[in-house]
């Protein structure tokens, strides 16, 4: 009897060792093939998840071969699992959100993103959290549950960005002259895209000014430098041509 039990345990151990070697090889293969089809961070985590599932199944199979009653182990496991489950609801929620993030793929490693108002570069995507290097430098760890439910803007995936700016000129300024100056500055700027074409239109006759709206597209990487340069050029050119940019004015007549 004791001899039989010994043999069964030995078979169990052999099953585990062989299974472990096979799973290691499968893991290498899955990681390689995942990397061909999906981004690096996602591939690593998907391969890791496959590995854990296979290891769990192997452990169950090895225990079965070694003569343990899996059913009772599963029942016991179920009770323990429930206890752990209640204690780790957040963790499970993060894990599941992580899985949904893998499927949805709103960003990849190295992308410049804005997650609920926090901007930065994606440093790491882990099963439970996403690490973001913020524009100021510090690394921020955001639980995947929050990331999945957040408003995400991915700047890397867009080739061009549009900037919209409104300029107000006084009523005694020459509106045609102002628009010609603005259009020329836009035409002269190399990094403002010709297509989609920029637009300069009058959008309002306000209390103390005429409002001119400028819409122009630039390559994503050039948005801020172009915007800074062009706004400064607008100001200097309008000032040079004696076109006033008025402050808000309120005329009060006293009787």
């Amino acid at each position: 009897m004791g001899y039989m039990i010994g043999i069964e345990i030995l078979y169990g151990i052999i099953t585990f060792i062989i299974g472990f070697i096979v799973i290691k090889r499968i893991n290498k293969f899955t990681e390689k093939s995942f990397k061909k089809k999906m981004p690096t961070g996602m591939a690593k985590n998907s391969a890791r998840l496959t590995y854990y599932i296979l290891m769990f199944l192997l452990a169950m199979a090895s225990l079965q071969v070694a003569g343990f009653k899996i059913e009772s182990l599963l029942v016991a496991g179920g009770v323990i699992g429930m206890a752990i489950g209640f204690a780790s609801q957040k963790t499970v929620s993060n894990l599941i959100s992580g899985l949904f993030l893998y499927v949805d793929r709103p960003f990849d490693l190295g992308d410049s993103v804005d997650i609920n108002g926090v901007g930065g570069v994606v440093e790491d995507i882990q099963p439970l959290s996403t690490k973001l290097r913020t524009w100021n430098g510090p690394i921020m760890r955001i639980p995947n549950e929050k990331v999945f439910g957040a408003n995400i803007t991915n700047y890397k995936q867009i080739a061009a960005r549009r900037f919209v700016h409104k300029i107000r000129i006084s009523y005694d300024s020459d509106i045609d002259k102002a628009m010609t100056i603005i259009k020329k500055i836009i035409d002269d700027e190399i990094f403002i895209l010709k297509n989609p074409s920029p637009s300069v239109i009058v959008t309002g006759l306000l209390d103390s000014a005429i409002e001119i709206q400028i819409k122009a597209w630039t390559p994503s990487s050039k948005l801020y430098s172009v915007k800074t340069k062009i706004l400064k050029t607008f100001y200097l050119a309008l000032k040079k041509n004696k076109i006033k940019i008025p402050y808000n004015q309120l005329r009060v007549h006293l009787k």
Binding site: A159, A160, I190, L193, W217, P219
Partner: protein, 225 residues
């Protein structure tokens, strides 16, 4: 102008000068000044794709040319004169790039997934013509595989895989620059292929480091021609 030469003394062209000092050379063009230490230097002037100025923002450029209508299953070879850039290499290093046209950019395709490209104006020229310095001839073979008339007025080029050739025209000493032959196949999808050969005979292939990359098979112009 184009090609490699060893310099041991000062050298001047219409566009730049290299002055020999004691143990160094001073390269000068407009505001650009570069000092190169050495008693002799290797100067190499080469035609480059028009994507480096004012700085390298993209590898792609779109050649806009006068509209062409192609009859069903019709094909045509046209020759376009396009502006290029000139690269000055000293001892195998690129020290200066210059061109003669103002850079302009466009977005080919949608905001998400589209390609930022330089706009290059192509003018139709004769096969035998030699464009002025700073311009190259691009031989373009367009074929319409469809059963209806198609029109085209632009082509998207990935400069990383574009070969240039140069050669001297003996009659008036003006150097001709040409790109490799390009094929534009208009089928269900529109494909641009680099033919990896020069249309003209006796020209020298440019072997700049930036152009030693593996050729990709074709570019899909999925957002129209």
């Amino acid at each position: 102008m184009f090609g490699k030469q060893e310099l041991g003394k000062s050298h001047k062209t219409k566009y730049f000068s290299i002055t020999k000092k004691k143990d160094s050379f001073i390269y000068k063009r407009d505001q650009k000044i570069v000092q190169i230490v050495g008693k002799k230097i290797n100067l190499n002037v080469l035609p480059l794709s028009p994507i480096n100025l004012p700085n390298r923002l993209t590898n792609h450029f779109v050649v806009d040319f006068p509209e062409i209508y192609l009859s069903p299953e019709g094909k045509q070879i046209i020759f376009l004169s396009i502006p290029i850039e000139i690269g000055v290499f000293v001892n195998e290093r690129l020290v200066d790039t210059f061109g003669f046209t103002k850079p302009e950019f466009t977005l080919y395709g949608p905001v998400k997934g589209g390609i930022i490209s330089r706009i290059v104006k192509g003018e139709k020229v004769d096969e035998t013509s030699t464009p002025k310095f700073g311009y190259a001839i691009m031989p373009l073979r367009i074929k319409n595989y469809n059963t209806r008339v198609r029109r085209t007025s632009k082509i998207l080029i990935n400069s990383r895989y574009l070969d240039f050739y140069y050669g001297e025209k003996k009659s008036n000493k003006v150097e001709k620059v040409s790109t490799e032959m390009i094929k534009l196949d208009i089928k269900g999808s529109i494909k641009v292929r680099n033919m990896n050969k020069c249309f003209f005979k006796g020209m020298t292939k440019v072997k700049a480091k930036t152009q030693l990359l593996k050729k990709e098979e074709s570019i899909d112009m999925r957002w129209g021609i």
